[in-house]
Amino acid sequence: MEKYILEMKGITKTFPGVVALDDVSLKVKSGTVHALVGENGAGKSTLMKILTGVYEATSGEIYLDGRKLDLYGVKDAQEKGISIIFQEFNLINTLTVAENIFLGRYNDSQYINWKQIRTKAHELLERLGFNFDVDRIVGTLSTAEKQLVEIAKALSYNAKIIVMDEPTSSLTKKEIEMLFPIIENLRSNNIAVIYISHKLEEVFQICDVVSILRDGKIVGESDINNITRNEIIEKMVGRSLDIEYPKRNSVLGETVLEVKNLSRNTKIKDISFALRRGEVLGIAGLVGAGRTELAETIFGVHPADGGEIFIKGEKTAIRSTREAKEHSIGFVTEDRRGTGIVIDMNIPKNITITKLNAVKNRWLLDKRKEEAVASEYVDKLDIRTPSVNQILNNLSGGNQQKVVLSKWLFSDADILILDEPTRGIDVGAKYEIYCLINTLVEQGKAIIMISSELPEVLGMSDRILVMHNGTIKGELTGEDMTAENVMQIAVD
């Protein structure tokens, strides 16, 4: 009999209209990295939220070190040795990095020794190899930087069990490679790590054991060495997926978007490229390379300082997002909660906002049309929801992402800019999205795909631009599109 540090027994959790977890049991050993995989909405996050005291299970028990555990909130869980990196950011945007890391547990006394906190935060970040100023306000950090702060925060607890819910979904390869030694280190210190990810390579690279969740039930558990990638996918999705990146046969058409010498203060400098119909243009780069900034500038979120944009051969000044939309550009943003969806509205409303004209009878909105549109996308993208009219807050992260995609698909844009389109999406759905991208370009649309997942950019793009420090450092096509080449250009 081996000893488990954590045992979760018969956990059931219901939400209105949904049984998110159905009699789930999970056992985790100290000193192992335990992967938890499953489709979007399988219940991974929910299970972890129960473990960390955010939710109360409808039924079931948790044992820590053989003792029954009753949790009274997150703080209690932390004190008992369980810490978590949430899937959605849990940082306070108005406070500094240092303060966020030590939020709620500054010192033992009532008074705060800022010097000590800053030093401690600095040391922690240094030890982890993250390099940024502890006095920066978190709201001014980029998505990836926020993720790093989250990681640092979770690690600072000296927990027995650390849960990481998709810690790498907004990191580029470089930061991920910084994270893995940290996890190794945790393992060697006999700490249990529960690692949730949709990136199966990572699971094979770092994890010891994998548990597979499907529709709220555990459908398999195995030592990582005794299972193959395809077996995992099969258990997750219920069918096998042979090829990861579907082939497409699109023909490149005329140039639809041409950017010449585009600049915006220091964030992007002198950017020029062209995009043709039927093309997927990948943009790679490290965190902070300016990819998002470029996309935002093209979409009219910020005015450009200099340069020209030609759409379908015509010179156009895009001064607002509305003008961009009128020129048939769509933009799936990287920050789902902040700029992608309205969390307390339902699916139809979130989807149709980009083209309300299409769901009107003359002047008035037609709710039935809206629902029909929503149903269409719920089917097409396999959005898991108890009803079309569900509000987005009750959807899992990946399903929310699918709603964001739907919304721009619905807008009928010819040029789609996808900033991290598959963030937090499971393999099955990713495959579907890739297929979708293919269908779109086959229809003659043009797509710019910004992604920090290198294999995805490599697998999907016809051409890759590599950005560094606000400029395009290189362009790769055909045979040259390899991970090594991209990293080489991106890094220095």
Binding site: T14, F15, P16, G17, V19, T58, F299, V301, S320, T321, R322, A324, K325, E326, F331, T333, G338, T339, G340, I341, V342, I343, D344, M345, K349, T352, I353, T354, L356, N357, K360, W363, L364, L365, K407, S411
Partner: protein, 328 residues
């Protein structure tokens, strides 16, 4: 089964708290004061609330769109002064009304342009509309020096606006139109998005700035209409007539159940809120309760109504969770 029906009754009471309070007030006052339950008095109440009600309708739009408009009271005063002065100068009453409306609209648009040009959130909107309140109030004082101005109003359209059921008709039609626009048009939908999350709206290609200007413009215009109806009713203008209207209007909106955080709301419920407050103060007047005690009761009513609303929502959520989980 019995407990089931008790629960249903409880639910019914909770979700219609405001209506029940109105009903109780009417019954009790009716028993004590026989004159109370007359058709005339009902008209009186509706007439009395129509002015603040019209303002509250505009305020509902602003709140759904995610900002306050604190300048409404001063707009009411200012349009009144302008209209009455123009009429007294012997100009046609239609022109006078037009001047009044233009003034309100102008202030509203100014508010809107200032706020949306800086992408102001509720904080900036608060200060800018408060500043505008002070400015408009002082402009209203210039021509009249603080004096109330009796209108030399001939029988005609202007007088007609404030007579009989006209104020009520104006109030209710405005409310119905606004609610219809809110729930059935593109414009209304975009308003909810802007109020919920301006960034999402902008990145969905919604013309956020222009839309936001219109909320303040509508609020300004409706305040002007309210100001004109008020003057027509009293056939005079008072440069401080609208003082405090912004708070009364917000109270009506929120008692009606529109949330202060933006993104959702309902104009018809604002009407219910305004009428509830109006009925209460009318009943208290008729029962001979002094003004001070009335204030205490009014404050408590606002608190109770909103507390009930919140309680209701929490309980509903909890019940939904239970029922669906076990039956479905």
């Amino acid at each position: 089964m019995k407990s089931m029906s008790i629960r249903k009754i409880k639910n019914l009471i909770r979700s219609n708290f405001i209506l029940i309070v109105i009903f109780l007030i009417i019954i009790i006052t009716g028993i004590i004061e026989s004159n109370y339950l007359s058709f005339n008095n009902l008209l009186n109440v509706l007439r009395q609330v129509s002015v603040i009600g019209i303002v509250a309708c505009g305020m509902t739009y602003c709140l759904i769109g995610g900002a306050y408009d604190l300048s409404v009271g001063s707009i009411v005063s200012l349009t009144g002064v302008i209209t009455i002065l123009t009429i007294n100068a012997g100009v046609s009453e239609f022109i006078a009304i037009l001047y009044g409306l233009l003034a309100g609209l102008g202030i509203g648009i100014t508010n809107g342009i200032l706020i949306s040009s800086i992408n102001g959130r509720s904080g900036e909107a608060f200060i800018i509309t408060y500043g505008m309140q002070v400015v408009a109030a002082s402009i209203a004082l210039f021509p009249s020096n603080g004096l109330f101005i009796a209108g030399r109003v001939p029988e005609g359209f202007f007088k007609f606006l404030g007579q009989g059921v006209m104020p009520i008709v104006i109030f209710l039609s405005i409310a119905i139109i606004l609610q219809f626009i809110l729930s059935n048009t593109q414009y209304g939908r975009q308003m909810c998005f802007i109020g919920s999350n301006m960034d999402v709206a902008r990145l969905s290609g919604v013309r956020v700035k222009l839309n936001r200007v219109t909320y303040f413009a509508i609020s300004g215009l409706l305040s002007a209409i309210a100001g004109i109806v008020l003057c027509s009713r009293v056939t005079s203008s008072n440069p401080t007539a609208g003082t405090g209207f912004e708070m009364d209007a917000i109270a009506a909106v929120v008692v009606g159940g529109t949330s202060m955080s933006g993104g959702s709301g309902n104009v018809i419920r604002t009407v219910v809120g305004a009428v509830a407050i109006g009925i209460m103060s009318n009943a208290l007047n008729i029962l001979g309760i002094t003004a001070y005690h009335q204030q205490i009761l009014k404050g408590l009513l606002i608190i109770a109504a909103v507390a009930m609303d919140i309680l209701n929502k929490t309980i509903k959520n909890r019940e939904m969770e239970h029922e669906k989980a076990y039956t479905g």
